[in-house]
């Protein structure tokens, strides 16, 4: 509040006061701060008071300098005058007197009361005002302004405000200057003994106060900061023992935000202030200014560090302070700070990082208060209701006990309370963890309270302290028994024999029992705590829990808002613990899940092991089977050392029990962390397409005990295409031992490609589990998947379909048709076992298998190894006996042959007796019409179907062609026509098989029109039998026949001649045709049965006998020249008698054809020539021709149009072209010029 004194010279104030007051507070002002920089301040409060006001009068002049800040900032001289003389004589001297005190800022407000209608008055007022200006305003400074009561005001108020601001600024500057000088002077003397902090404080605070009044909060804050620094220096000066303070009632409640808590006079002590009160006082002012500056964040941040540092000072003075004063103070301080700063804080006004930081500080304050609150609660005896979680343990167990000079003892009247407490302690049973997990409970106390309390009792000697430790070994229910230290254990083993009632008021030296300690603490705290809220919170367990929950929630929420997720989530866990205790399992499970997710996600297993059982229990209570099971799995998959084996077995038993009994519906469960699997090291299993197989997989079980899996199946992922799903392989039940197991899974026939391991799934009772992890030891799932890839080693390779076996005909050369022959089928496995293979044989048309004979199977040396691609090598190989030569006779059943075992992986030949039938007789060919080989005739097919593979899943189908043929091809020709009409007929036998044929006999059955010459019986003329015909060679037999007619007795006319050949064959089935199967079995050569071969021969009587011949007689030897006559001559001759021909007229028509452009024919071109019909008659036809052009030209041709062309031999006769020379030079052509 600024004051402006008003010197009411002309008694005007009552009339204008309201108008002046209306202008307050000043909306905007520009002031100079401590560093003389202009600062704009707003809403400057002020008050106009008369100089006669009592507030100004009561000052002693000597105080003025110190309390200068209370003095008016300016003097407004309110004056009016309408008469110039009056002004000169009365007013002017008076004003001069008033303003002569130059210390003070002043200015004159000339009030003009002249009515606007009154011109004279206005004029005179103006005159007087001009005069006033002349007298009091200087060039430097305008000190006058005129207020027209009846006139327009706006201008005046602006003028007035600017004047006032000028004054304020000047005054402020001067005063600041003054205070600073004073302070500097004092500061220089600081280390002198006479120096007094109080004086310094007064100056500093006055200055700060002044700044604050001027709304220069920054500067005020700086003054207080400096003051605090200075104070801390003086306080910490060695050798000065001052009273700390804080022993008065109500001091326990922190006053760090309440500047008016105590008047300064109560704080002051000698030449300084008591630390306890004064530091809080300073902080209160600082925070007040910070709030005014709208910086609640800073209040919180300064507050937090203030609480920490102040708490330290409290610690050092703890022996003088009431019991637990420090804790109470910290709690209340934190709460006050939280309330104040959060109520002042408006979200969204500050930068995000500040906001984050603010919430973090709030969280810190909450958790600091929470820790101290828990400590008090523990002392009072609510230790059992505090969760022994890592966070509580960490904060409490490292926090030392309060160290009062004397630990409070039980008041005499509190015996009933002690009894009650003791009963309560007896009732509470220590909580057992789920699954019977036995863990050392985390301590909530730095050392055992019992010992600490008794030690601090002044009257207790050390000897007594030991006495209390050698009681029985029964553990106290306060939980401290769980502390591991043996010394501590002794400490807790507080004997209950002491607890006979009525023993309380015994000797004061007797050590206190735990219940007594609690009651004593309670009473002592009641003394200490003045804050009702706090005391209420400690009055009962329920209230404690309420407050505890409130604080925990507050801390958690604020940490969450500040993105300190770890702090937040951990405190969520504490909320969960409370919820859990109250049966609010749903909420508890949610919070616990968050905690577990955090620890699990970051892999802090030891911490996880602490929380996870709680979550599991919640899920069990909630009947969340899926969650419960997965938690069991997580428990099991934690590091083995974190739980005892017994506990782990309990988890497993629980899992198995649920899986087999309680689950109604199948529950899916991810056990990746527990069951991991990988392929067997080494090369991947290789399979051919379509083959089933067994895949061995190594499965690591993390279960502590044997685990029976009802079924296991494994998915394989194809590497070639991620989209194409996976192949599942199955195995029936499997027993998993802890550790490494090998499971063999049977593979369904997969598609070709290479596969990696996918997912392991299986079932335990109603539990469907799946596991994704490939191998143990790797890091947990990492989001950094660029840094390393999961090793995806192919575990299975299925090859593309390829030939696994080859079936082929053993021989390519033809076999004998119409005889039983061995057809060989080569079976060649290609790196694949044919174990148990079955061959289906189906013969094509015209071919049958002789079932009366056995089928033979023999091995042959591995073709594939030696010369895999040349089946010919078979022949050569076969000749050499191999050591492991096998021969087995098989029978055909329903067209199937079962392979013997030995044939599973070696090449073999199956010999099948077959009989190709052909009804038609083979036809021979004559030399005139050469034989056209026709392979199709002798081709027969055998359809083969081989089933093989482990489960006969592979088939191989092939139709092989077997070529059959007659032993010979017969061709015939007439070698010579003898004179007497006999013909020598040569029958040529060409061997068509790869075997030596021996002809023993041959005879010819002739057709009509031919008879055997002589008395032949159709045998060849020369008996050269036996005649051996080598493969592919020819042999010939000559028959002597002649044309003639025989009358057959039967009258049937034979149209074809047939040659019969009795022959034998000697050949090997491995190379081609061979003796028929039946013959082989019949035995020796003696009983050899010759084979008979019949072939049709077509003999034809000559039908085309030309009866005429035309011959072109040679041309004259001279050159033919153009224009030269050439006689062309043809001779026509009858070759035989023409009795029966129609053309047998006497004349034969002839015709000479020539190109008229080339030839000129002189003579008859066409005419009849007389020709006798007798054989040998002849005639020459001569025609004269003149060649017309030179060159090669066709000569004229002679044609006999009436005679059939076939009757003419050598037609057309004559040369094709003749050469015509150009005409010889002739002078007659020369024309003289």
């Amino acid at each position: 509040m600024k004051w402006f004194s008003v010197e009411d010279v002309s008694n005007l104030w009552p009339t204008v006061k309201d108008r002046f007051d209306e202008r307050l507070p000043f909306r905007r002002a520009s002031l100079n701060n401590k560093t003389r920089n202009p600062v704009f301040v707003e809403n400057l409060n002020a008050e106009f008071i008369l100089t006669t006001d009592s507030r100004l009068r009561s000052r002693f002049p000597q105080e003025q300098s110190l309390f200068w800040f209370r003095e008016p900032y300016a003097t407004v001289v309110l004056v009016t005058c309408e008469d110039l003389d009056e002004f000169k004589t009365i007013l002017k001297p008076r004003l001069k007197l008033i303003v002569q005190n130059d210390e003070r800022e002043w200015f004159i407000v000339f009030v003009s009361r002249a009515h606007p209608s009154n011109d004279n008055a206005i004029k005179s007022a103006k005159k007087v005002y001009d005069r006033v200006q002349v007298e009091f305003s200087t060039k430097k400074r305008e000190r006058c302004c005129k207020f027209d009561i009846h006139g327009p005001e706006a201008l005046f108020w602006e003028d007035l405000e600017s004047k006032i601001m000028d004054c304020v600024r000047n005054t402020l500057d001067r005063r600041v200057q003054f205070y600073e000088d004073e302070i500097r002077k004092l500061s220089e003397q600081r280390f002198m003994p006479i120096w007094n902090f109080c004086n310094f404080f007064i100056l500093k605070e006055s200055l700060a106060f002044m700044f604050e009044m001027a709304h220069l909060y920054e500067d005020a804050l700086r003054e207080y900061d400096e003051l605090e620094l200075c104070y801390l220096e003086t306080v910490n000066m060695i050798g000065k023992h001052r009273d700390f303070g804080g022993v008065e009632h109500g001091d326990d409640h922190a006053a760090l935000l309440n500047p008016g808590n105590k008047p300064l006079s109560q704080i002051v002590q000698d030449d300084s202030f008591r630390e306890f009160e004064f530091r809080q006082y300073l902080f209160a002012y600082q925070s007040k200014l910070l709030f005014k500056l709208n910086r609640p964040f800073e209040v919180a941040s300064r507050g937090y560090s203030f609480v920490i540092s102040f708490s330290k000072s409290l610690t050092s003075h703890e022996h003088k302070l009431p019991f637990c004063m420090r804790e109470v103070w910290v709690i209340t301080a934190c709460w006050d700070l939280i309330t104040a700063s959060s109520s002042q804080y408006k979200a969204g006004l500050v930068a995000p990082d500040i906001e984050k930081e603010f919430y973090r500080l709030q969280g810190d304050l909450f958790s600091l208060g929470r820790v101290k609150f828990m400590r008090l609660a523990y002392l009072v005896g609510y230790g059992n209701d505090i969760e022994r979680s890592p966070v509580n343990s960490a904060s409490l167990s490292m926090l030392p006990w309060p160290r009062p000079s004397v630990w409070p003892s039980v008041p005499s009247e509190a015996s009933s309370e002690v009894l009650e407490k003791e009963k309560l302690i007896l009732q509470t049973t220590s909580k057992t963890k789920h699954f019977g997990i036995q863990r050392k409970e985390l301590p909530l106390e730095p050392t055992v309270l019992l010992r600490e309390a008794n030690r601090r009792r002044a009257s207790l000697s050390a000897g007594n302290a030991f006495e209390i430790f050698d009681g029985s070994d029964r553990s106290g229910p306060d939980g401290s028994s769980k502390s591991p230290n043996s010394q501590k254990k002794a400490g807790v083993s507080m004997s209950r024999t002491f607890s006979s009632p009525g023993n309380f008021e015994g000797s004061p030296d007797r050590p206190m029992r735990i219940a007594e300690i609690h009651v004593a603490a309670q009473h002592a705290l009641q003394e200490t705590i003045s804050d009702e809220d706090l005391w209420k919170s400690l009055s009962s367990v329920e209230e404690f829990e309420k407050k505890y929950l409130e604080l925990t929630k507050g801390a958690a929420d604020n940490y969450h808002r500040s993105w300190w997720k770890r702090h937040g989530v951990v405190l969520d866990g504490e909320i969960a613990a409370v919820c859990f205790r109250h049966g609010n399992f749903d909420q508890a499970a949610k919070s616990y899940e968050k905690v577990c997710a955090l620890y699990a996600g970051e892999g802090w297993q030891e911490l996880l092991a602490d929380v996870l059982p709680n979550l599991t229990e919640c899920q069990k209570m909630l009947n969340d089977q899926a969650g419960y099971l997965s938690s069991c799995i997580r428990l099991l998959s934690l590091d083995k050392s974190l739980f005892l084996n017994k506990e782990r077995e309990a988890f497993q038993a629980e899992l198995v029990r649920l899986a087999h009994s309680e689950l109604k519906d199948p529950v899916p469960l991810d056990v990746s962390s527990l069951i991991t699997f990988s392929g067997i090291p080494g090369p991947p299993l290789e399979l051919c397409d379509g083959d089933p197989g067994n895949l061995s997989v190594t499965v690591w079980s993390g279960f502590p005990d044997d685990m029976t899996l009802d079924s296991v199946s494994l998915t394989l992922m194809a590497t070639f295409n991620a989209d194409v799903g996976a192949k599942a392989v199955r195995s029936s039940t499997a027993m998993l031992k802890p550790g490494r197991n090998t499971i063999t899974l049977s593979l369904l026939p997969p598609k070709p490609g290479s596969y990696v391991l996918g997912v392991l799934t299986g079932q335990i009772g109603q539990l469907r589990f799946r596991s994704h992890s490939f191998s143990k030891g790797g890091p947990a799932d990492s989001d950094d998947f660029m840094s390393y890839e999961k090793p995806a080693r192919p575990i299975l390779k299925v090859f593309k379909p390829r030939a696994l076996v080859d079936l082929a005909a053993a021989i390519s050369s033809p076999l004998l048709i119409n005889e039983i022959q061995w057809a060989g089928i080569v079976v060649r496995p290609i790196d694949y076992s044919l174990k148990g293979a079955i061959l289906h044989i189906d013969t094509g048309p015209g071919l049958s298998i002789e079932k009366s004979f056995v089928i033979e199977m023999e091995s042959c040396a591995n073709l594939s190894q030696t010369e895999p691609d040349t089946p010919n090598s078979f022949d050569s190989q076969n000749g050499s006996p191999t050591a492991n030569k096998q021969l087995e006779q098989l029978t055909l059943e329903d067209g199937k042959i079962n392979f013997p075992d030995w044939a599973s992986d070696m090449d073999s030949v199956i010999w099948v007796p077959i009989w190709a039938k052909s009804d038609s007789l083979p036809r021979g060919s004559s030399s005139v019409a050469p034989p056209r080989p026709n392979m199709v005739d002798g081709m027969r097919t055998i359809a083969l179907n081989l089933e093989f593979g482990a489960s006969h899943n592979q088939t191989f189908e092939r139709t092989i062609a077997v070529h059959f043929s007659d032993p010979f091809h017969v061709s015939s020709r007439v070698i010579d026509k003898c004179n007497e009409g006999t013909l020598l007929l040569q029958v040529i036998l060409q061997s068509q098989v790869k075997a030596t044929l021996t002809v023993y006999d041959a005879w010819l059955e002739l057709q009509d029109g031919f008879v055997h010459a002589g008395q032949g019986d159709g045998r060849p003329t020369l008996g050269s039998f036996p005649l051996a015909v080598s493969p592919t060679s020819k042999g010939g037999i000559i028959f002597n026949i002649c044309l003639g007619k025989t009358i057959d007795e039967n009258g049937a006319e034979k149209s074809e001649s047939i040659v019969n050949i009795r022959y034998g064959i000697s050949g090997d089935r491995t190379s081609g045709a061979h003796p028929p199967v039946a013959m082989e079995y019949s035995g020796s050569d003696a009983s050899r049965k010759d084979l008979t071969f019949r072939s049709v021969l077509v003999l034809q009587r000559p039908v085309l006998d030309p009866c005429m011949a035309v011959g072109f007689l040679p041309l004259p030897s001279v050159d033919l020249r153009v224009g030269q006559l050439v006689p062309m001559k043809w001779r026509v001759e009858m070759l035989k008698d023409l009795e029966d021909k129609e053309i047998s007229k006497h004349n034969v028509l002839y015709e000479v054809n020539a190109n008229p452009e080339n030839w000129m024919i002189a003579g008859r071109k066409r005419g009849y020539i007389p020709l006798s019909k007798k054989q040998g008659s002849r005639i020459v036809i001569s025609v004269l021709c003149v060649p017309l052009v030179a060159g090669y030209v066709r000569p004229p041709q002679l044609g006999l149009p009436n005679v059939d062309e076939s009757d003419i031999s050598c037609n057309p006769p004559g040369p094709h072209l003749v050469c015509i020379m150009p005409p010889a030079l002739s002078s007659s052509f020369c024309v003289p010029v």
């Binding site: 985390l442 591991p484 770890r566 970051e602 030891e606 911490l607 790797g778 890091p779 660029m786 840094s787």
Partner: protein
């Protein structure tokens, strides 16, 4: 030598990959868990602090009564690949996440701690250089363990 010192290496994914109690004090049974808890909670602070400074050694970032947490933040870099499945786009982001060496200690020997961190960092880099070590996996090398303990004896 410090009476209490708990050393831990936290990988980029906040997973502890190496833990050692290197203090001379007889180990309290529950201490390991508490130390873990304190160090874990301190990760919150490291995560804030690491961005505000370029220094690798952050001393006394958190205080737990008598115990103090100091952290050494390594400067390794990892490329994170983000796949937007909806758009079939892959983004490669350079994300600096650090491996942190954290020490919970009660001694005030800042220089010693700093040297300790530097030498352990060197050891850690040697471990990283091992081609058979997957970054982010637990460090199981007994050699490393021995060396770290020796360094702790020397500096802490």
């Amino acid at each position: 030598m410090a009476t209490t010192a708990s050393f831990i290496i936290v990988s980029r994914n906040d997973i502890p990959i190496y833990e050692a109690e290197v203090g001379s004090a007889t180990k309290r049974e529950d201490a390991a868990q508490l130390h873990q808890f304190v160090l874990h909670a301190a990760l919150d602070i490291v995560q804030d602090l690491a961005w505000t400074t370029s220094a690798m050694f952050l001393k006394n970032i958190d205080r737990f009564n008598d115990l103090v947490v100091s952290v050494y933040v390594t400067a390794d870099k990892s490329v994170r690949c983000i796949t937007l499945k909806a758009f079939s786009i892959r983004y490669f982001l350079d994300i600096f996440k650090h491996t942190r060496l954290m020490l919970l200690h009660d001694s005030r020997n800042d220089d010693g701690i700093k040297s300790f961190f530097q030498e352990v960092h060197e050891l850690y880099i040697k471990v990283l250089l091992n081609p058979l070590y997957l970054p982010g996996a637990r460090i199981a090398s007994s050699h490393f363990d021995t060396k770290v303990r020796a360094l702790a004896r020397k500096y802490l």
